[in-house]
Symmetry: C2
Subunit: 415 residues, 2 copies
C-alpha cells in the first residue's frame, strides 16, 4: 500500500502496524472491527463505487441492436441465425471444432455426461467445492457424484491428492476402473475451473489416462481462461460453459458444449433438440431427448456480448491487478492468483482469509453487506449437503480447513 | 363454398361434383391430384399469402421496448421485474393463484410431476398423441408413461375409453390405484389440451377422483383456451403452459407452472432455482434442484406478447372460422372444432382426412410443401416410438385409424 493511498484512508493510518500484529491480536473484538474497516476501505479504493454487487453484466455493445434484429426476423426460438453465429463465434474463440449452445450450463453438463455414456450408478469424480449444478447434472443421469478435496493454491480439485486417492480405491481392469469399496465403475472426472482459475490440465490428462476416465470439463466459469495458451473446456473429451447472468458474458440464461469429437457433437445436438429425427415434415423422435437448445433471442444477446469479451476480460484482469496491489500488503488476506501456466479471466476475484475464526468471516461479510459491498462466501461444500451426504468422497482436510475462509470479491467488468 | 369464391378459383369450378364423387373416385391418381389442387386453393383463399409457415410468432407490441428496458436495467437473468410481472399477468389471465415461469414447457411438466410426488416406476396416464415432451418429462422422473387412445371428436385423450380401461386394469386400494398387470402404482393422469382444444375436464376430474389420480394438465398448447369459462391448466392439481416459438405467444423458449396449491408452488419455485436456500449471502442447497427458472429477458418478451394475447386469439378464432366456412363443403376434410363447453384458442387448426389412404396424405403434404404451404402431419404416436415401445398402453384403435390422416394447417395469428 503506497503513501498516497494511506493518506486517503483517514481512520486507518495505523493499519500497517495493526496488520503486523494480526496473528496475535486477532481475537479481540476491536482488532476484528479495525480489520473489517480496513477491508472495506481497500474494496472502496479498488472499486470506487458505492453499491458493489458481486458480479453484474455489462452491456455496451450491440445488445439492443441484435435483439431488435431478432424480433424483426421473427426468429426468437430454437432456430435462427444468432444461434448459429453464436456457436461459430465460440468455436473461433475457444478453438473447439464443435459448439452446441444450450439453455444453461447445467443442461450442457447433463447432455455431456449422457453423450460420453455415463450410466446409472457410475461414479463421476469432481471437486466438492463447486456450484451445485456440477453434481446435480451427475444425479440427473442417475450416476453418483464422488467428491474430491481441493488444492490450497488455486482452490481447484487437488490433482496430486486425487492421484494418491485413486491408487488406494481403484481396482484397475483392462479398460476401466472400479471403486473397490462401492464396486461401482468410476467412469469420468469433472475438473471445474473454479471462479475462472484453470485447473492444471497436464496433471488432469495424465490421471485420466492412467485410470481410463473420461474428462468432462466444467468450464462454466472460465470463458476466456487458458491453460498453456489453450482454452479451458477444450482439453477433455467434452467441456461446458455457462452464460448465466453473473458470468463474464451473459445470454440471460445459457450454456454451451465444446467438443472436438464430431460424433459426440451430433449426439449432443440431437439430444438437445428433443431427439427429433430430421425430416421436412415428419415428426418423430428416436430416443429420450431434452428441450435444451438455446433460443435465438438469448443467442442474439450472446453474440453482442461475445464481441465485447476481450475488453471485458482486460478490465477484469486490470481489476485483479488492483486487488493484488492492495492485498499483497495484507497478511491476513490471500488473493488467489493464476499459476505460471494459466491465463485467467478472473471471473470472480477470490480471497482466502488467513485466520482461523469462522465468526470473523461472518462479521466481515455482514460488515461489508451493511456498507453495500456484496462480497460472498464460497458455496457450502457439496459433500456436506443433505442430498449428497451419502455419496463417496475422499479425505477433505484442505476444504474443511478453508471452507469458512473463502470469499468472492466484487468483480464486475465495469469496475 | 359460396358462388363468389367459386368464381375466384379458376381451375376448380367442377370441384363440387368432384367432391360428391370422392368416395368412389378417390383411388385414381387424377382425382387425387385434383383434390390436392383444390386443397391448395382453399388454403390460399383463406390465408392470402404465398409462403405459409405452420405457425409464426407475431410481434407488434412492446417487444423491443421491454427488451431495451431489460438491457438498461442490467437484469437479464433469473431475477428481474419482468419475470415477476409475467407471472402476475399469467395469474390474472388464467385465474391461477400461483404461477412459476420456467425455461420451457417440458421443464414445467418435469417439475410438476416431481412436485406432486411422482416416484420412480409410478405410471402416469397420457394420450399417445402429443408432443414427445409430455412423455419425456415422465421418464425424467424415472416414472413410466402409460399411453391411452384418443377421441375422434377432438383428438384429445378419450375419457370414456380411459374409464373403461381403468375398470379392467386397476386394482383399487384405499387411497391409490395399482396396475394389476404391471403391479406398479398408477399415480397421475396428464390430459393434454391438444392443439389448443380443451379436454372435457368434468369427465377428467371424475375419473381422477374415482381412481385417486393426480391431474397434471398439459396446457402447453392451450393458453387462451377455456372449458366452461375456466382456463385450461387450472382444473388439475397443477398445470403447465409453453411459450416456445411456435406457440400462440412466445418468450423465445419458456414455460409456466400453474397451481392453486401454495405448498406445491413453493416447492416448484424452490426446485426451479436449484433448490437454493434463501439467505442474504450463504450459498447452500437442500435437495436436487434444477436450473429451470425463466430468464428476465425472455420474460420481457413474454410481457409484451401477453399484452397482445386477446388480439392474437381473436385473429386465430377468425382464421378458424374462415377455414370452417371453406371446409364445411368438403366432405373428405373434417376440421376439428370446439365442443359446446369449450372456447378454443385454435392454436393449430387441425383436419382429419376422411380417406383411408396413407399415400394420399403424403402426396397432399408434399404437394402443399412444393407450393410453400407448410402443412404438417401429426406427431408419430408416442407408443410407437422406440424408447416408449415397451411402456404400457391401452387399445389404440382410434389413433391407429387416424394417425396418418391428421394434418395441421397454417395457423399464424397474422393470417
Amino acid at each position: 500500500m503506497n503513501g498516497f493511498r494511506m493518506t486517503q484512508i483517514g481512520n486507518s493510518t495505523n493499519h500497517i502496524s495493526i496488520m503486523n500484529n494480526c496473528h496475535t491480536s486477532f481475537g479481540t473484538i476491536n482488532s476484528q472491527e479495525r480489520r473489517i474497516d480496513e477491508f472495506i476501505e481497500i474494496i472502496r479504493r479498488v472499486c470506487k463505487c458505492n453499491e458493489l454487487k458481486l458480479h453484474e453484466p455489462f452491456f455496451s455493445g450491440n445488445e439492443v441492436k441484435y435483439l431488435e434484429s431478432c424480433i424483426s426476423s421473427n426468429f426468437v426460438s430454437s432456430v435462427g441465425k444468432f444461434v448459429n453465429k453464436f456457436e461459430k463465434m465460440l468455436a473461433d474463440l475457444t478453438g473447439s471444432k464443435n459448439v452446441i449452445a444450450t439453455v444453461n450450463g447445467t443442461s450442457a453438463l447433463h447432455l455431456s455426461l449422457l453423450c460420453i455414456g455415463i450410466k446409472p450408478e457410475d461414479e463421476v469424480l469432481l471437486p466438492s467445492l463447486t456450484f451445485v449444478g456440477s453434481a446435480n447434472a451427475i444425479r440427473y443421469c442417475n450416476a453418483i457424484p464422488h467428491f474430491c478435496d481441493i488444492s490450497e493454491n488455486d482452490l481447484n480439485i487437488d490433482t496430486s491428492k486425487v492421484r494418491d486417492y485413486l491408487k488406494l480405491i481403484v481396482e484397475k481392469h483392462h479398460s476401466y476402473s472400479i471403486n473397490k469399496f462401492t464396486k461401482h465403475r468410476i467412469s469420468a472426472i469433472m475438473p471445474v475451473h473454479l471462479y475462472g482459475q484453470p485447473v492444471n490440465m497436464d496433471e488432469m490428462l495424465s490421471i485420466a489416462s492412467e485410470y481410463n476416465l473420461t474428462i468432462v470439463e466444467d468450464a462454466a466459469e472460465s470463458l476466456g481462461s487458458y491453460f498453456k495458451n489453450k482454452h479451458t473446456g477444450t482439453f477433455g473429451k467434452i467441456g461446458c460453459i455457462s452464460f448465466n447472468g453473473n458470468k463474464i458474458i451473459t445470454t440471460g440464461g445459457g450454456g454451451a458444449i465444446l467438443t472436438n469429437d464430431s460424433k459426440l457433437a451430433r449426439m449432443a445436438r440431437h439430444l438437445s433438440t428433443t431427439a427429433k429425427i430430421s425430416h421436412p415434415w415428419e415428426l418423430s423422435h428416436d430416443e429420450i431427448g431434452y428441450n435444451y437448445r438455446m433460443p435465438n433471442i438469448n443467442a442474439a444477446l450472446g453474440c453482442a456480448q461475445l464481441e465485447m469479451l476481450s475488453e471485458l476480460r482486460k478490465n477484469k484482469r486490470l481489476l485483479h491487478s488492483k486487488y493484488k496491489k492492495e492485498f499483497d500488503d495484507v497478511p491476513w488476506v490471500k488473493l488467489i492468483a493464476e499459476d505460471k501456466n494459466a491465463n485467467c479471466n478472473y471471473w470472480l476475484n477470490t480471497i482466502v482469509l488467513q485466520v482461523n475464526k469462522t465468526s470473523f468471516t461472518k462479521k466481515l461479510i455482514q460488515g461489508c453487506h451493511e456498507k453495500q459491498i456484496f462480497i460472498r462466501p464460497s458455496w457450502k461444500p457439496l459433500h456436506l449437503l443433505p442430498m449428497f451426504k451419502s455419496c463417496p468422497s475422499s479425505d477433505m482436510s484442505t476444504l474443511t480447513k478453508l471452507q469458512d475462509r473463502i470469499i468472492n470479491l466484487p468483480s464486475s467488468a465495469y469496475l
